[in-house]
């Protein structure tokens, strides 16, 4: 699906993807900021404060009740991290107007409430409402503490932190406890108003009956001044070759191996890297799955994932603690095989088919249709599904080998149970 672009204001873009196939109309708003220690916690907190109430519906109960009465308009906020950008995300969907009584009016009211939430926040004496702000601050701090409850996510983050020490990418997208505790409602409001005035904002909508959207979204109380360009992602060439061990009371050990890549989203041979990652660890036929799980029965799960903006490839596996050495060795060997060009025709074809199917499947999910553009808006280069599909189809074994040769192992991290109990 190709998006039609509208300019709403300076630095505010609207992209419309009209389609009849969905029963909903989905809108997502992305506000970008640089990932930085001074602002990371504020950017994480603000969306959850905004959702507590708006000028028209000053409590969350009133706001959600309003949305429910509009045939369950759904809305939520979050923050995400793409390379060294932090992105405030606002999600909204409404049932397709043709499926419900007074559909157009329902959509209009829902979008108005949603737009107000983002562009015209509830304030008191030059600050976010203090009770909401402090409550959400406490909740965010607890949520950050709670990362430790999800051992896999915790392990991956600790590995990235060790790997990117000193780089903005090492920041947790929700901030750290001390950064959160320092936040004040006046300062945070000033910061958010600055984001609204000058930072890049992109609005995407997917679904049927989009004809009214430029007008409806254009009518939100935007307060734009100018567009502030954000700096590009930083790139580090050298690797550390370090091993990091951590112990906790866990049944299963989690191994994370972090590699730096030579290619990134804007590199001409980026899709060689994407295919290399696929051959290594994305599919059931991938080298890691076949060798670590199936042949050696070493892990319940093992996969590799690519962060194409910063240029990181991470391999994650759940293993028995005593298998650490063996598992690391097998992963190293699989990467070495890729670098030596030991790739069968079958591996290449299946990986391409898998990646291509994955992209086509995204086109069947409204949120995914939108989210696949995030890396593109960060790098000022949106790519249509067609372009990406053709690029993947054209990748050769030689390009995969070259991309794999750019992989350099930086950090091996392992979270396991206390010694003696393993």
């Amino acid at each position: 699906m190709d998006f039609v672009h509208y300019k709403i204001a300076e630095g505010v873009n609207l992209y419309l993807g009209e389609t009849e196939k969905f029963t909903t109309l989905t809108v997502k708003v992305f506000i970008q900021d640089s990932l930085a220690p001074e602002t990371v916690a504020a950017n994480a907190l603000i969306p959850s404060v905004l959702i507590q109430g708006t000028k028209s519906y000053p409590t969350r109960t009133a706001l959600v009740q309003k949305m429910e009465s509009l045939y369950g308009c759904a809305f939520w906020t979050d923050v995400s991290k793409i390379g060294e950008r932090q992105i405030l995300e606002f999600y909204f969907d409404a049932v397709s107007p043709r499926l419900i009584p007074n559909g157009k009016q329902v959509l209009k009211e829902g979008l108005m409430a949603f737009g107000e939430l983002i562009t015209d926040p509830l304030v008191e004496d030059g600050a976010f409402r203090r009770d909401y702000f402090h409550k959400e601050k406490r909740n965010l701090a607890k949520m950050v503490d709670g990362l430790i409850n999800d051992k896999q996510a915790y392990a991956v983050y600790q590995a990235v932190k060790a790997m990117c020490k000193g780089e903005p990418y090492s920041l947790y997208k929700y901030g750290e406890r001390d950064q959160i505790e320092r936040l004040e409602p006046e300062e945070a409001l000033r910061h958010y108003q600055e984001l609204l005035r000058s930072n890049p904002i992109d609005v995407f909508a997917v679904g049927p009956n989009l004809e009214d959207l430029p007008e409806l979204i254009g009518a939100w109380p935007w307060q734009r001044k100018s567009l502030r360009e954000l700096p590009p992602v930083s790139v580090k060439e050298e690797v550390q070759e370090q091993e990091v061990f951590e112990t906790q009371d866990v049944q299963q050990a989690i191994l994370v191996m972090g590699y730096r890549t030579a290619q990134r989203y804007l590199s001409p041979d980026y899709y060689g890297l994407l295919v290399a990652n696929g051959i290594l660890g994305v599919f059931p036929h991938s080298k890691l799955f076949v060798n670590v799980r199936e042949k050696a029965s070493l892990a319940y799960y093992v996969d590799s994932s690519l962060e194409g903006s910063k240029g990181l490839l991470t391999v994650t596996a759940g293993i028995a603690p005593q298998s650490y050495g063996q598992a690391v060795e097998i992963v190293r060997r699989q990467v070495a095989e890729l670098q030596d060009g030991v790739i069968t025709d079958e591996e290449l074809t299946r990986t391409k088919i898998g990646l291509i199917s994955g992209i086509k499947k995204m086109l069947d999910n409204p949120a995914a249709v939108i989210d696949r553009n995030l890396i593109g808006i960060v790098h000022h280069e949106l790519r249509s599904p067609q372009t990406v599909l053709e690029s993947i189809a054209a990748v050769t074994k030689e390009q995969v080998r070259k991309a794999a040769q750019g992989l350099r192992l930086d950090t091996i991290y392992c979270l396991s149970g206390p010694k003696g109990e393993a």
Binding site: T23, E68, S69
Partner: protein, 423 residues
């Protein structure tokens, strides 16, 4: 083939094949993906049954899930590879009530559908591959053991139930999977894997006649034994096993769930009604639109992890509400008070109508998800309900009926609390 129109004006095709297999096909125009589920009405709860000529048989827990893993084994080409060739992602899951084998695909749908039907009909079980699987499942169970959500949930069910197999993880226990043998796997396979006890659902831009044709051809040679299945559940007392259960693990904040055991086990339209009414009630207490939620949230007793809902099938019915909290005792008390308060005040028309609209909106939105549709079509079929009946049953629920559930479904004597505390 019977054709029933959905509320979104799409035609659902339904038929029962000559061998007894129900087939549900929902063509979705404009979608790239095709999604198919081939499911067996056989889940982790079915560990005791009556076999003609053998009497009552009790097998180790976790067999349904073990079989699910094992069916991916093949004498020549691993099942994953057979699908990878077509760019299909093949997967499976086991729940309390069913085992489902599924794939999603863009091109080569007919080929992949044949593979799906083929591998489920042809188990390849050896002493060696069964022994190896134990290691993999053990890792899987260990992984779940490290999940606080899974632990507090299992503990709650252990507190609510004395003997019911819902107490045990779908995957079984370390001990029970050690007792699973090739012969036991075959025994369960032969009993449950027969067309009349299974169903096929396909959702996507497909041709229904072609799907049926492939299914008929691919099952021509299947050597199954048609036999009656009599599932047995142990006698479960009305009371709860214990009112309070707690455990410590490495987590950052305590968690607390209050659970209710409901003794009304229904099927068909009555089950659908029960599910909708109970979900409306929990919505009125635990959703973000609820003043009860707001009160608990503002007092700092809960956060956004809070959830509340009903879980019911013909074999069990329970509710649970809770999440992270700094004060489990206080949260338990507040929830009980909120329920008692609701029993006094009941819900009014405005509230019920709003929640109905919300549920209807969610139902309509779910038509975007082929996976969700296919799995819902199957699970409703196995429960003797129809997924397409949801809007009509929802519409028919009156305020009085919902309020009757409020008065009758919550017995504080049949409740239990599960708490996880940081170490």
């Amino acid at each position: 083939m019977q054709v029933i129109e959905t509320i979104t004006n799409e035609p659902l095709h339904f038929t029962q094949m000559a061998n007894g297999l129900p087939v549900l096909i929902l063509p979705k125009q404009g979608f790239q993906k095709k999604y198919a589920v081939f499911a067996v009405h056989y889940g982790s709860l079915d560990s005791e049954f009556e076999v003609a000529g053998k009497g009552v048989v009790k097998v180790p827990d976790g067999i349904a899930h073990f079989l699910e893993h094992k069916l991916f084994e093949d004498a020549t080409i691993p099942v994953f590879e057979r699908f990878a060739k077509f760019g299909a992602s093949v997967n499976a899951y086991t729940s309390y009530n069913l085992t489902a084998y599924l794939f999603s695909i863009i091109d080569f749908f007919p080929e992949a559908l044949r593979e799906l039907l083929h591998f489920v009909q042809n188990p390849y079980l050896t002493e060696e591959n069964v022994a190896k699987e134990r290691g993999i499942i053990e890792q899987e169970l260990r992984m779940y053991d490290d999940h606080p959500d899974r632990r507090i949930y299992r503990n709650l069910l252990n507190a609510l139930y004395h003997r019911h197999p819902i107490r045990i993880d779908v995957g079984g226990t370390f001990e029970s999977i050690g007792e699973i043998t090739v012969d036991l796997l075959w025994e369960c396979y032969r009993l449950f894997y027969q067309p009349a006890n299974m169903a096929l659902a396909v959702v996507g831009d497909v041709n229904p006649a072609e799907v049926l044709d492939i299914a008929a051809r691919q099952m021509e040679e299947w050597q199954y034994q048609a036999q009656d299945i009599k599932r047995l559940l142990p006698d479960e007392p009305d009371t709860v096993n214990k009112p309070w259960i707690e455990e410590r693990m490495s987590i950052s904040q305590p968690r607390c769930y209050l659970g209710f055991k409901h003794n009304q086990h229904l099927t068909g339209r009555r089950l659908l009604k029960q599910q909708l009414a109970m979900n409306m009630i929990w919505h009125s207490l635990g959703a973000r639109s609820s003043p009860v939620f707001a009160g608990l949230y503002d007092s700092g007793l809960i956060n956004d992890s809070f959830e509340a809902g009903f879980h019911g099938t013909p074999q069990y019915a329970f509710s649970m509400a809770g999440g992270e909290t700094d004060d489990p005792q206080q949260l338990d008390k507040a929830l009980r008070e909120a329920i008692a308060d609701l029993q006094k005040k009941l819900l009014n028309t405005e509230q019920v109508e709003r929640i109905k609209r919300h549920i209807l909106g969610g139902y309509l939105a779910a038509f975007n998800s082929l996976d969700y549709l296919a799995n819902s079509l199957i699970s409703h079929l196995f429960h003797g309900t129809s997924y397409l009946d949801v809007p009509e049953v929802l519409e028919s629920l009156t305020v009085d009926e919902v309020n009757q559930y409020i008065c009758e479904a919550f017995d504080l004597d049949r409740s239990a609390v599960s708490v996880l505390l940081p170490e």
